[in-house]
Symmetry: C2
């Protein structure tokens, strides 16, 4: 039975007791981690969010009745213990912050009993994730997840404090709003008062934060939920959290400056890591050429080498064809992987095909300096040697080549580079390598839509010197856009916004919007721009991803209290779920009957 805590007051948390408290009385409350009876003494590990304290129940200091109660304790019981802090009489536990201490219990109350949990509450749980997420309230008791969520809380708080000191105002933007132009699928919310009409949940507060700049708020920040109804990947959730900001009267350098200082502050305060400022900047073009990615992982080298010039006269049709079609031939050098078995190389070829490659050419250099290659028969000895030299190939290296349109070559080698780094153990989670990627292309040609689309969004400002290209060579126009990349993950991105009506109209024209279409979608923003709009720019971080990297986790689900799984459902609450017919009727909606197979996950 549950006893009341009436008359008791917790004095501190378990791991807040220090050696200075020896001899003092404390009242601790928490969960029984484990309990054992050894030679007539009961040892209980008491757990709360701070850590663990060993409690000793011994007849004498505690009454007989209390001792009997203690004998009944089982894992996950919630108890309150009064007792005296002592130096540990048994062996010191060096794994615990409180490992030199124990509390000799003088009274015990059982605040709540507990059934045996469906899986053990322990760090680095081996329990499968589905079961843990169904019982998320138990999973959240695990010390590693608790550390993650405590870290997340700290990151949010430090961010707010830092930005507040920098003059940023926290302003809340609406959740029930109109479709935003991010391009992903919106979550819709049917209106009851206006049947047949819908709100959209925001994909980001983009338009609102720009309006706030038009309204003179100057520096805006919000840590805010955003929503995208996309098919989920490991790194995605239907709802995710952005650290969202916007600044007026600034250009690229101002945004980068305040954000570098913010990141340095966070990493210093949370992890004790010094981020060297300024953070390296790299243009999009350089990032693609050197790393095949606009979010390069700089913790290791293995850079792409363009060997198009070296191989331009060979007869190898794969190389030749790529070059003739305006593409390129590039390679990476996997140092020391020259002895990789054929089977493993074949797997890399398959991997490359998954990224659009037609194949992968390789040269394996043996330790004796001889080599084996998939395409040497199409090349002269001199050509091969020139190629190896261009790649700085040494004894024991494995050289891998892709030949195709640039986009595919980058994509393939960028992915391959990461895959090899993973296999070769080059990714150290304790190392934090930041880089700003700048000068993104403004526009991307979409084959499906047969038009240019905005690489960031339609409000991104072109670089001043590229403005004339808008008419002559739109694909070559660079944007005042920037991403902040950490260890190969984009943790944030933003841009300077267009604040001139004429440039904005030109932009819409490039994107193929008629004036009427532009006005229907963004009318209130265009209207706002008529009444005096300051130059402004912004940036947003994915908080989930940022904390995931800081916590050295592989999944954002490990830094979100109540995450959803791949089919966008919550295993604990069983949301989404059917609703009453009456509720739908009030909304003026009907659910279409579904064929059985259509109701399964897409």
């Amino acid at each position: 039975m549950a006893e009341s805590m009436k008359g008791l007051k917790r004095t501190c948390r378990c791991a807040e007791v220090t050696k200075a408290d020896i001899g003092k009385k404390v009242t601790l409350m928490g969960w029984v981690q484990k309990s054992r009876n050894k030679g007539g003494i009961i040892f209980v590990d008491l757990r709360d969010r701070s850590g663990i304290m060993q409690i000793i129940f011994e007849n004498g200091p505690i009454s007989e009745e209390g001792f009997e109660k203690a004998a009944k304790l089982r894992s996950e019981f919630v108890i309150a213990v009064e007792g005296e802090v002592m130096a540990r009489s048994g062996a010191v536990n060096e794994n615990l912050a409180t490992g030199e201490l124990e509390v000799k219990a003088e009274s015990l109350r059982i605040l709540s009993e507990a059934e045996t949990p469906p899986f053990p509450i322990e760090e680095d749980s081996k329990t499968r994730e589905e079961l843990r997420l169904k019982y998320r309230y138990l999973d959240l008791r695990r010390p590693d997840i608790q550390r993650n969520l405590i870290m997340r809380s700290k990151v949010a708080m430090l961010t707010r404090e830092f930005m507040s000191k920098e003059g940023f105002l926290e302003i809340e933007t609406p959740m029930l709003t109109k479709s935003t132009p991010e391009g992903a699928r919106d979550y819709l919310v049917p209106s009851r008062v206006h049947p047949g009409s819908f709100y959209a949940l925001p994909q980001s507060p983009q338009l609102f934060k720009q309006l706030l700049m038009c309204s003179g708020y100057d520096r805006y920040i919000q840590i805010v939920k955003c929503f995208r109804d996309e098919d989920l990947r490991a790194d995605r959730q239907p709802e995710f959290t952005q650290i969202d900001m916007e600044l007026a009267f600034v250009d690229v350098d101002d945004v980068i400056d305040v954000n570098e200082r913010l990141l340095a502050h966070l990493f210093k305060e949370v992890l004790g890591v010094e981020v060297q400022l300024p953070i390296q900047r790299m243009t999009w073009k350089e990032a693609m050429n050197r790393f095949g990615s606009d979010k390069p992982d700089l913790r290791f080298g293995m850079e792409l080498v363009d060997v198009s010039e070296t191989v331009k006269d060979t007869e190898f049709v794969v190389f030749k064809g790529a070059l003739e079609n305006g593409g390129s031939v590039r390679g990476i050098n996997a140092k020391g992987q020259g002895a990789m078995p054929r089977k493993k190389i074949d797997k890399l070829v398959e991997f490359a095909k998954g990224y659009g490659a037609k194949g992968l050419a390789y040269i394996a250099i043996h330790e004796d300096g001889s080599w084996k290659s998939s395409f040497s028969k199409f090349m002269t000895e001199e050509q091969m040697e020139a190629l190896i030299k261009a790649m700085d190939g040494q004894a024991g290296d494995l050289l891998l080549f892709a030949a195709d349109r640039n986009k595919i070559v980058w994509n393939v080698l960028g992915a391959l580079r990461l895959e090899l780094a993973e296999q070769m153990g080059l990714l150290d989670k304790n190392e934090y390598r930041f880089v700003w990627i700048t000068e993104f292309p403004l526009l991307e040609w979409s084959d499906e839509e047969n038009r240019f689309t905005a690489m960031h969004h339609p409000f991104t400002m072109p670089m001043d010197e590229d403005l004339p290209l808008l008419d002559t060579d739109p694909g070559a126009v660079r944007a005042k856009a920037y991403d902040i990349v950490l260890n190969g993950t984009e943790i944030g991105g933003g841009s300077v916004r267009i604040h001139q009506n004429d440039v904005q109209e030109k932009m819409f024209e490039m994107l193929g919007f008629t004036k009427a279409q532009a006005h229907e979608r963004f009318g209130f923003l265009l209207d706002a721009f008529k009444y005096g709009v300051p130059p402004h720019a912004g940036l947003a971080y994915g908080l989930d991803r940022l904390v995931m990297l800081m916590a050295k986790e592989d999944s954002i689900r490990d830094v979100i209290a109540f995450p959803k799984v791949k089919d966008a459902s919550c295993l604990m609450t069983e949301a989404p779920s059917p609703v009453d017919a009456a509720q739908l009727e009030e909304l003026g909606l009907e659910v279409e009957p579904q064929a059985e197979e259509e109701t399964t996950e897409e």
Copy 2:
């Protein structure tokens, strides 16, 4: 044409310039509040979020070309000015923080031109709210609204800092979730992956924060959007913001203690107001008896007086009937209102009827001590005098009486008391009177549903000493619930939660839930309670209302950046709006055809 700000850097905001800066160069950027040419000198009031600075354009300090540009400035143009800070040469403006200063412009750039806004940007705007909300981005430029939103940002920041120091963790709970038990109507979000299923937007994070306590997080805080699809009143929005908290291992006093200190901190830091601690506490019963309200405004007296005993022997059927039906007769004394014209009294009677009264009895005491009354013919002289004495009626007072069931009497006189205070000018927005209301009834009888409903929610803990009454007299059971009331507005409320499975089951039984129903709605909470749950309690503030009172506004729309109007629409974005048929098809939904009249506001 818009000029670039390239090469310029804002040195500070307008009102950040002080006398210490005289002689220094500054670069200011902002909006032209007004501009006038006086004797060949152009005076511009430059506005940003900090305030206004007077800029002087005079040929000489500024080039001829610059001067010509300045001559073109109109309201709401966005400009950048470089110049020297000077003591004001003309008359000092005592209404401005910078009223003794001016900046002599040396260069000018027009960053953005502006059309004439549809209404003037000015404090205490006389423009009708509909127009202002349509152009909210302009309305938000008004200094009074800017002050409100800056205050709101400060309140949020101070709250987070304070609570963080008290050991509270900020933990985000889901927005896409399952129906919560608050009892209001949910906003639903159709699922695409699971057609025919819906998420609900949270009415509050109630269940999640209780689960976090079960998971050992100990002290939780979140400033979080909540949603209720109710017909709107002045004080309501479809989405609103809560300061939401929950604490484990605590009882009522612990929650009240930390919240009193939070409130005192906020009022001190934001308004310079000292809140005397401890804040007065009043039981629900006392509040109803003395003020006819569970959110009494203590800035003035005019308390209810129960005169049932005094009038119990009169022949006046209204009084007699009420008493015979178990009701009461109560009055209030509107001091000095004895000369109120009959017409105005009649309006009060109508007002009372709006709150359920069948009528209102009154005695107007003239300055000469004689009186006029609506019911004296049913009373003896002695009875009238006893009644006047019981009400402490003095020459010039107006005594008003309601007789009915207690609930109606409280309701009527509680409302009347506020109405009279308003008329009599007793409500001073500069005075802040807090009171905790405690010992609420646990259950309320619902005539419509013919069962008890939870006055707060089904997880509220009964008072220990009233537990036995659950079986014998459920309506008399008091709850460990508390509201914090400021100047007659409930700004927050909460309770100690049930943490014992058996008490929770009893509670569901009282509310008429079968075990299956309880499990369907709250299954995961009940499951969680099997595995060790600490005593816990919580509280939530309505941030919008709190800031509204602090900002001395009458509407929460004045402290929300992008509010909705009564029909839950946003006049600026025109949300909600119809969506593409393709979007609905993906969700497996059909909109029922609406008869014309049904599409109008309900």
